[in-house]
Amino acid sequence: MYYFTWINDLWKHLFGGSYKQENTGDASIINLPNDIMSDILSKLLAKSVLACRQVHPQWLYLSSTPYFADLHLMRVTPILLGQERTPFAGKGLSDYKLLLYSFNFCNRKYCYYIYSLSTTFKRKLRSFPYFPLVYFSPYEVGVVASGALFWIVRCITNSGDWSFRRML
């Protein structure tokens, strides 16, 4: 690199006194611009995103926007479970949570569950706002979530395409 410190001296000599002090600016990670921080958060797996949500209000806000959900989704590699009934089919996915829905024949409602791969723990979600799946039998749609906090990754549209839908 070609830089000459003497030029600086010359500069000071010519314009001495008028230059201002170095703007130190706070180099804390909190002061990173929002779009950069969103980018960083979106590179994390769901569990880390959750941890980050507890770190600082700003991060909680950033990771709650629809923009962030889209960003995170874009980085996700969807895993199709196809006909698999069990969410534990995907091996080596310990960082992921899977989301599966089932049809409850008693009250004729669809239920959604999030499964943790590491345990048998599951948690029922609140009723799902989108309802594109009526034509499918409960287990036909292996719903996959990476992240699983905000989003369902999946569903076949009428044209047979993949689409992504947000949970929250």
């Binding site: 170095e22 600016g25 804390s28 569990k47 507890q54 770190v55 723990f121």
Partner: protein
């Protein structure tokens, strides 16, 4: 290396916020879209003078790092992008810094529109965040807890299932 025939500039002078001057090879400067834009504009005007580009947001020690990165990547610009050696170098390059420097570098990369460096920094920070607990993140990045106890309890509650 041969630059385009119409160009008359081979060097530019970049000024940091603390008024240090850096003479930069044009090929190196082109790694930053901001500098490249400036150069292109000046060339369109057909000026033959050496141009001075002031960067009011970047201090000289950070600028030195950005230029070091640009220089390395300019060397490899004609090669395959997936060059292993370059990736290795990138990693070693970032590993040296503390987080304050890394944050400043990230902001500088954003300001100077050096996309690959920005991506690199973001990925590096993300890699350092992952697998850490909330407390560890706060400690390492020196973040104050700005939540009220009530808010914190709420979020913890909301997220509890994920940590089982």
């Amino acid at each position: 290396m041969a630059s385009s025939s119409s160009s008359s500039l081979s060097r530019v002078v970049v000024k940091s916020s603390d008024n240090n001057l850096f003479v930069v090879n044009k090929k190196v400067a082109s790694q930053s879209q901001l500098l490249k834009q400036c150069i292109d504009n000046m060339e369109e005007k057909g000026t033959n003078d050496v141009i001075l580009i002031p960067l009011s947001n970047v201090t000289s020690n950070i600028l030195t790092l950005v230029l070091e990165y640009c220089e390395k990547h300019a060397d490899f610009a004609d090669d395959d992008n997936n060059n292993q050696e370059l990736k290795q170098w990138d990693h070693e390059f970032l590993k040296k810094f503390d987080y304050a420097t890394l944050n400043s570098l990230t902001m500088a990369a954003d300001y100077m529109v050096t996309k690959s460096l920005l991506n690199l920094c973001c990925q590096f920070i993300a890699d350092s965040i992952k697998d850490l607990t909330v407390q560890q993140i706060r400690q390492i990045f020196d973040i104050k807890n700005d939540f009220t106890p009530q808010e914190e309890a709420d979020i913890k509650n909301e997220n509890a299932w994920a940590f089982r």
